[in-house]
């Protein structure tokens, strides 16, 4: 087992909801990154959960920045550290809304410039902080406050957009697999250039399940094949253990959907769309891992 440092960089405790995946993910991101790190956080749950001004629960420097600006801000920071001869890690920690919708042009610009930084998107599949409005990352069929009948459009393929920039490292992770996440953050930070990790964040109030199920929900997402754990180092794709197992023997997607209030009453068409998206994605990644495409 990987030796994970005992030191905590999130002081007890945040003001996040009970069972918050974003807090759990950030805990392991910071354990992997260590104290010589600056976080850049655009408007999202993580802006709020730090605590009450003038106090913060986050024990590394953290810059709260405007919604659209995280990757641009990180670019400047990374450049400044380089000029000063410092090796400080610059990490953007952003929600899905701040990544797939509002921050995407800054993200694209930074990756095009090969900015030396790590961009982490924790994906709770909606605009959580403002009351769970749909985002480009909300899956088809999911009810949000702005899609009360279930979302009509498919989840945006963020990873494909980032992959088109040929980053030095791209990976997915999930709140239910903290050791895997830890290793990926550590690896990303050893590489130069733009790195990206997309972390699934099952959110109890947003997805409408009870707070003890956060980790279970993440495991179900992976075991059903709806969320695939993989990494791509300079374009070379590896599918990680739990997802390899899920590709051989997946649990039914319905086992994942039926335990979440946001999918209550989802119709057959939307379930079939989710299934075929998952299958296509798995096929594509398997081909890439075998070096066929």
């Amino acid at each position: 087992m990987t030796e994970i440092p005992k030191e905590e960089f999130i002081l007890k405790c945040t003001s996040a909801c009970a069972g918050c995946p974003s807090t759990l993910i950030l805990r392991y991101v910071l354990k992997a990154a260590g104290s010589d790190t600056v976080l850049v956080v655009p408007a999202c749950c993580t802006s709020v959960i730090q605590g009450i001004y003038p106090n913060t629960a986050v024990n590394v420097p953290l810059y709260n920045v405007a919604f659209a600006a995280a990757a641009a801000c990180a670019s400047g920071m990374s450049e400044a550290f380089q000029k000063a001869g410092k090796k400080t890690n610059v990490i953007v920690y952003a929600g899905d809304g701040g990544t797939v919708d509002i921050g995407i042009q800054a993200l694209s610009g930074a990756f095009e410039r090969e900015t030396d930084f790590l961009y982490i998107c924790y994906d709770n599949e909606a605009y959580g902080n403002t009351g769970m409005q749909r985002s480009g990352s909300t899956p088809i069929g999911a009810r949000t406050t702005t899609t009360p009948g279930g979302k009509v459009h498919a989840k945006k393929d963020l990873d494909a957009i980032v992959a088109a920039h040929n980053p030095s490292y791209l990976a997915t992770a999930c709140a239910a697999y903290p050791q895997d996440l830890f290793k990926k953050v550590q690896k990303a930070l050893t590489l130069r250039g733009s790195k990206f990790i997309h972390v699934l964040a099952p959110c109890p109030p947003g997805w409408r399940f009870s707070s003890e199920m956060t980790v279970e929900m993440g495991k179900l997402a992976v075991r059903s094949g709806l969320w695939i754990l993989y990494e791509s180092e300079f374009g070379k794709v590896t599918i990680n253990g739990p997802s390899k197992a899920a590709m051989i023997k997946p649990v039914p997607i319905e086992d994942y959907l039926s335990v979440q209030g946001r999918f209550k009453g989802i119709d057959r068409k939307a379930i079939d769309a989710l299934k075929s998206q998952a299958e296509q994605r798995a096929k594509h990644l398997q081909k890439e891992a075998e070096g066929i495409c």
């Binding site: 002081l11 007890k12 405790c13 945040t14 003001s15 918050c20 807090t23 913060t56 707070s211 003890e212």
Partner: protein, 81 residues
């Protein structure tokens, strides 16, 4: 015009204590526990110490530790009001 940046300082208890609003609290059955540490690994707020003591000042009572414990050694008990 001069502006000052709003800077927060890191401190324990930046969001207050949770004991006043928590509804259920985790209670560990030491007989059943095999000290695997899985509960502490998954606690979002790191409220379970290395020697597996729950810090009830900051535990939110989410129940993840109880749900993930492979030995079923943790039960969630309703707080006395």
């Amino acid at each position: 015009m001069s502006t000052r940046p709003a800077i927060s300082r890191p401190i324990k208890g930046a969001s207050g204590k949770t004991g006043s609003w928590r509804v259920f609290k985790p209670v560990v059955d030491k007989e059943r526990c095999n000290a695997c540490g899985i509960c502490a690994m998954f606690c979002p707020d790191a409220a379970i110490s290395e020697d597996l003591v729950v810090d009830l000042d900051f535990c939110k009572g989410c129940g993840i530790c109880a749900h993930e414990c492979p030995k079923k050694a943790i039960s969630m008990e309703r707080e006395e009001k």
